[in-house]
Symmetry: C2
Subunit: 307 residues, 2 copies
């Protein structure tokens, strides 16, 4: 039996819609996992979230099953969800579960796959969760750090370096469903906005390579997705401004929201940004959960081996 | 009197429409330039191209005048165009002229500006030439190497590193006007295509930083502009394939065309790509001019000082 920690992740990262993500140290999922002799995936839930325990409806099991199918394996697994990122928070809750399962199974089966090879299986969990097999959460959950999805067909994942960066996550206690959050996006975008977006993404990548905090900050702008999704978050722009005023390099919506992330060069600034955003939500009468974490360079990992 | 060499440049570079460009060693413009006491910009043409010699209609003079205006200067200049990139070729002919003039004047005036500060003046020449003050040719002409225009407002130019790369330029002798080439572009693009494009641009930037030729090659795809502009170049896709088959990492339209560029890791491959593309145009009965050049890391420069 192994226990696994699988990290929350921030997808999109302002200018990198559907292609960029990074991993956190906190929050994260914890599961325990063991082989069994039933030939089935058996799920147990110790979290408060009443997770669906029918394998076909559980993203963790869907991801694991796609991996077992690729191995033509009938192996059974027993998975217990010990603690969980709150579903629907916008920090890759389903991705963390899917990454945990495929990583854990890979370890228990003697590592038939490399970490990058696990990404497509975890993506099947994402497809089950949101209807789209996006990789911008599962790739950083599995590989750690910043990851670029250069291409989906064929899948081409590029790990990006980065200077020390601290993420602030503020999760207002309002509900935004990933599938709804995608539905409100326009299918066509003005070419002028697209040019601004890819200029910023290229600038962000350059800033990550050169450890240029100012360039990272100047590049953390989303002129396409954020203006639409901001409508789902009360006073988003005021809260973003509060983070910037507190010293954050940039601030935008994490994934499909409602969580908001900010990036700062040091932990003290990240905590000040957290307090500023929390205080603003507080004045609106909206409770919010806070997380401050350096970028997690490691990704999903075994916590302890009790086998 | 100084003589100045100002390089041709490849803008867009497949996935980087309006934001990316690089400089060549050949072809290029050569001008001579001197201060005069007339208070006017006097133009002389020794090229075969019958350049407009009225200052208001000459991109070189327009760029220079915008610089003089910023300095509140009434200084006169005498400029002689000695040799010139063929206008309308798609390798930054107007940008080379504009860069030459503002660089040369800056030298003659004791360098009141840094090279990056000259970019906005040269952009005014581009505005006169094509109606759009784009910077993706003038920035690499002035700064050398690969340059990213992260943002136009405010202007933010990021020099990018690169491994040794050899460019092949094939200029078919057909006419495509920059302004026409821009008019046929759609004002709205599908979000799915935009995502592919910015994934590739981010991948290209990462490949340039990591000297990863394979990643550079995988990223040199343009799914938005090339499919439209390819219609202006006979058998573009067959010619592109010929370059790839010859070993080039990637191939696309240079700027607004009709020149086609390819990038190769070594000179021999770049020459093979040149021959393959030339031979294909030859079979179509279209003459084409060939240039093979490493990336020019230096940009516009003084050739000799005869003062």
């Amino acid at each position: 039996m192994i226990k696994i920690f699988s990290p929350a992740t921030v997808a999109n990262v302002a200018c990198g819609f559907d292609v960029l993500g990074f991993a956190l140290h906190t929050p994260g999922d914890q599961i325990s996992m063991a082989l069994n002799n039933t030939g089935r995936i058996e799920l147990h839930d110790q979290t408060p979230y009443r997770l669906p325990l029918t394998p076909e409806k559980n993203v963790t099991a869907v991801a694991l099953q796609s991996m077992l199918d690729a191995l033509h394996s009938q192996q059974g697994f027993t998975i217990t969800f010990l603690s969980k990122i709150m579903p629907g928070s916008g920090v890759g809750s389903s991705a963390a579960s899917a990454a945990a399962a495929v990583f854990g199974a890979n370890e228990l089966l003697g590592r038939p796959f490399t970490r990058p090879q696990l990404v497509p299986f975890a993506m099947q969990g994402e497809r089950a969760a949101s209807g789209t097999a996006h990789a911008d959460n599962v790739a950083p959950a599995l590989l750690g750090g910043f990851t670029l999805i250069r291409s989906y067909t064929p899948l081409d994942i590029i790990p990006l370096p980065h200077p020390p960066l601290y993420a602030t996550i503020v999760h207002p206690q309002i509900e935004v469903r990933t599938s709804d959050s995608r539905k409100i996006l326009r299918q066509e975008v003005p070419i002028k906005k697209a040019i601004q977006q890819w200029g910023n993404l290229a600038g962000l990548v350059a800033g990550l390579f050169t450890n240029d905090y100012q360039l990272i900050g100047r590049s953390l702008h989303d002129v396409i997705i954020e203006p639409v999704r901001a409508l789902l978050i009360p006073e988003f722009y005021a809260i973003k401004q509060a983070a910037i005023d507190a010293g954050a390099l940039g601030c935008s919506i994490s994934g499909s929201g409602p969580s908001i992330f900010a990036l700062s060069p040091d932990e003290a600034t990240a905590r000040q940004a957290a307090q500023a955003m929390h205080a603003h939500f507080d004045r609106l009468g909206i409770d919010s959960h806070l997380f401050v974490s350096p970028i997690n360079r490691e990704g999903v990992k075994i916590m302890e081996n009790e086998g």
